[in-house]
């Protein structure tokens, strides 16, 4: 990695960590299922940015772009299914409190 790429790498890394911490905080403190999904989205965004950054500094942009596209497709599927589950939970419990999930019996 060249010195020029290194100057770019660390500021980006710092903000990626910040984004990751914000997403993790959101996941940790909330009881609302939709807000938890938003936290998960923020975590995925941090991972996406890290992938693109590493692709840039190692000059493997094409490979990383194909990986990011795969990641985005998976992200959409996960969010769509999770939103469906949230709707089902709301129909059942009349709220989106994740503490209500503990009452479910298999």
């Amino acid at each position: 990695m060249s010195a020029q790429a290194l100057t770019l790498f660390w500021p980006f890394c710092l903000f990626i960590v910040v984004l990751f911490v914000i997403g993790f905080y959101c996941l940790l403190v909330t009881f609302n299922l939709i807000r938890a999904l938003i936290g998960l989205e923020l975590l995925i965004k941090a991972v996406t940015l890290l992938l693109v950054l590493v692709g840039y500094v190692t000059a493997h942009e094409a490979l990383v772009q194909s990986l990011v596209i795969t990641l985005i497709v998976m992200e959409v599927v996960i969010i769509a299914v999770a939103a469906g589950i949230a709707l089902g939970l709301h129909r059942h419990n009349k709220n989106l409190d994740t503490r209500q999930l503990r009452n479910l019996k298999g």
Binding site: M1, I78, I79, L87
Partner: protein
């Protein structure tokens, strides 16, 4: 990349972090969804600047557009929390997680003493510059995985809503 471009990147990164913080801290779920779309838009600009234009277009159209629509549709169908409950929840949150900022600062101090050495220059015999060639010719199994994931998602949603309809 010059100093001016790096400064621009840092400004965009700062705006992205600010949008993410607003997403998490705002009380309204609808504003959270809009904040997430803003974060996504900032990420799109960064991806474009990091020479990943195809992935950036995907990020903008899918993450900033489609996922926001899914979130807003879900929020509009479900019932929002009352103002009293929101305030009570915020008070509970402050009581339960008062130690988190201290923990974060401590982890930051510990990590600042650890020296990370990444060997990012992985040698490859030939670096393909076109993402379309990589995706279609070199990594076709990824496409198969994407198709399987999409079908899984579609079947998952069909099953979820069929069960809800029967009840």
């Amino acid at each position: 990349m010059g100093t001016q471009a790096l400064n621009m990147d840092i400004v965009i990164l700062f705006l992205m972090a600010l949008a993410a913080l607003w997403t998490v801290m705002t009380r309204s779920l609808l504003r959270s969804a809009i904040g997430l779309a803003l974060t996504s838009a900032m990420l799109t600009i960064l991806m474009f600047r990091l020479h990943a234009p195809l992935a950036a277009v995907f990020e903008l159209s899918v993450c900033s557009g489609l996922i926001s629509v899914v979130f807003i549709a879900t929020i509009s169908v479900t019932q929002p929390m009352s103002q009293e409950k929101v305030l009570q929840h915020m008070r509970d949150r402050l009581e339960r997680f008062w130690y988190l900022p201290i923990l974060l600062v401590l982890i930051g101090i510990v990590l600042s003493f650890v020296s990370f050495k990444f060997n990012l220059s992985v040698p490859l015999p030939e670096i393909e510059k076109d993402p379309r060639v990589v995706l279609w010719n070199q990594r076709p199994l990824d496409l198969l995985g994407q198709i399987i994931m999409l079908l899984t998602g579609v079947f998952g949603i069909i099953i979820l809503f069929r069960e809800a309809k029967q009840k």
